[in-house]
Symmetry: C2
Subunit: 337 residues, 2 copies
């Protein structure tokens, strides 16, 4: 595979090249990881940044409808929009439950939109890694906005928030007693809470729910990276396309303030650094998953440990001696490899 050519095609906005590039970064094969690194380094030189918007909401809150309406509004403004789904639960189903393009029929046919289903991965760490790489590729491909969608389960919101510039939490109208159902941790990562379905019979309930969350948000500790009035709650109707322009205006106001104050750059730098460390950690752990002498020896030592011939700690120390860091290579000196 010619990485430079693929990279150039991604940068020039060729959809098929972007799809191929994302497939490459999603691969777990060691040689593909090396190529993925080269590709990401190459396209990163283009220095393009998109606005990365994380979005979470439990099933039934109208997430697909919101993304379609919001996405079409953005493309209507002349912006290019990518939608990525991050779904850790796909490791069980073996495929994405979120990535169904037919859910977002109109948006998926929009030439200025690109929808990518969640990769099916076996590990949570792997999902995060591959999703971050896919986001970076969408940025390089010149998208203005990357929407990163996740279902409201466990760690996935935090994972998505860590690859986003801002985080939207989509909720359905509910009785006041359900307010407790939203975990405090999720409230704390949200920049804007959107109470959807503010239409028809549900409108009064949506208004009440919004007021409840406005109150709840006031109780949270003020974050440095928030201008006055943020985090905030507001009502929208994805079905009736109402309130979406206000959401976009609020997002722009928030982001513009963060850029001016330096928080945008700071957050991007911190995120990049922690992605790198996580990438290194996953790479170190991959050493024992890759077929080869190290893995063979590990299986052999594992048998010894299982038979009680060696302690877990002792066998691990023996195995780890086979992995050489630069310090040890230096200690050993030349000619002793």
């Amino acid at each position: 595979m010619d990485i430079i050519e693929l990279g150039d095609d991604v940068i020039s906005g060729t959809r098929r090249a972007l799809a191929r590039a994302i497939t490459l970064v999603e691969s777990q094969r060691a040689d593909h990881r090396v190529q993925a690194g080269q590709l990401l380094d190459y396209v990163g030189q283009a220095g393009r940044q998109a606005l990365r918007i994380g979005l979470s909401g439990t099933p039934g809150v109208g997430k697909s409808t919101f993304i379609e309406s919001f996405g079409l509004m953005l493309t209507g403004l002349g912006l290019r929009v990518a939608v990525l789904a991050v779904d850790p639960s796909s490791r069980r189903s073996g495929g994405s439950i979120l990535g169904d393009k037919t859910r977002m029929d109109r948006l998926s046919r929009d030439p200025n939109a690109y929808i990518r289903p969640s990769p099916s991965q076996t590990k949570l760490g792997g999902v995060a890694q591959r999703s971050r790489d896919a986001v970076a590729l969408c940025e390089a491909a010149g998208f203005d906005v990357v929407l990163i969608e996740t279902v409201g389960v466990g760690q996935s919101e935090t994972m998505v928030a860590e690859m986003s510039d801002l985080f939207l939490l989509l909720l359905a109208p509910a009785g006041g007693d359900e307010l407790q159902g939203i975990k405090r941790g999720i409230m704390e990562i949200a920049d804007i809470i959107l109470v959807n379905k503010a239409d028809g019979d549900l409108k009064p309930a949506a208004m009440r729910t919004c007021a409840d969350y406005t109150g709840a948000l006031r109780l949270l500790r003020k974050r440095k990276r928030d201008p006055d009035g943020f985090p905030r709650a507001m009502t929208v109707s994805a079905l009736e396309d109402s309130g979406l322009d206000q959401v976009w205006a609020d997002i722009q106001a928030l982001i513009s303030w963060r850029r001016d104050q330096g928080y945008w750059d700071m957050q991007r730098a911190e995120q990049a650094r922690s992605w790198f460390v996580e990438e290194v950690r996953q790479g170190l752990l991959a050493q024992i998953e890759t077929p080869g002498l190290l893995r063979d020896r590990m299986l052999q030592l594992g048998d010894e440990v299982a038979r009680g011939q060696s302690s877990a700690a002792g066998a691990a120390a023996k195995l780890l001696e086979l992995v050489k860091t630069p310090d040890e290579s230096l200690d050993a000196g030349p000619g002793t490899a």
Copy 2:
């Protein structure tokens, strides 16, 4: 430090040596890890096995009272008993909230008992590793029973179950509606559920709670490693020392059946193998935590990534090239170190 001498002292049952040995295996220093591996390999040759009993219960159920009463009953039978606390939350407090020997004043003064507080660790993985090593040292020191105690929070029960031969869940008498409060996952790892405080006014409530759990346990899928009648629920009163002899009789019946059926050996072998893999994983990750050339280079590459000069994936690939596995050493051939 003379590892052989320390090992011999542990095996001969010297309490001070055991305490020193546990402190050694709890250390995160790389040289201590190597020594710990040597020590565990050495004392493992003694081939001693204790009965490892995991025990969990939320604060307030009378866990300390139970451990003291149960432990004293066992020492009264001529058995030597070690009590280890596994407390992942100690990373926050910087010390153990469980390890207070004054809680178990009589047991701690018993020459046939040994109580070790939880190590204060920064990582959950670290707590598990060090606790397993401490259990292995107590076995080598000739204890007959090792009680591994944990608070009822999140992952800690699973962690303790994975280093135990059987698992006790201690509960307080409660209204039937509280039955739902016990997570299904915890029910599934329990071999015996003990409803404590079956004394005085609480006795009827304890009986009802026990009946409720007996019913709930029947709904669980039968596990291969269980003889008829297990898992089971029973009432005890740690305060009045009642029911404890029955707990011990049940434990012996369960374990004797598992030994006969081969499940004991099978479970021990599986546990040892997975501890080893976990030990290797932690060891690989420790490479970037240890001061040295690799870590220096990682910090340097992290800065490049934060400044946008390199992609996370690309920089990670560069760093990982510095770590050599046996396959790569062979590829490189002699003289190219």
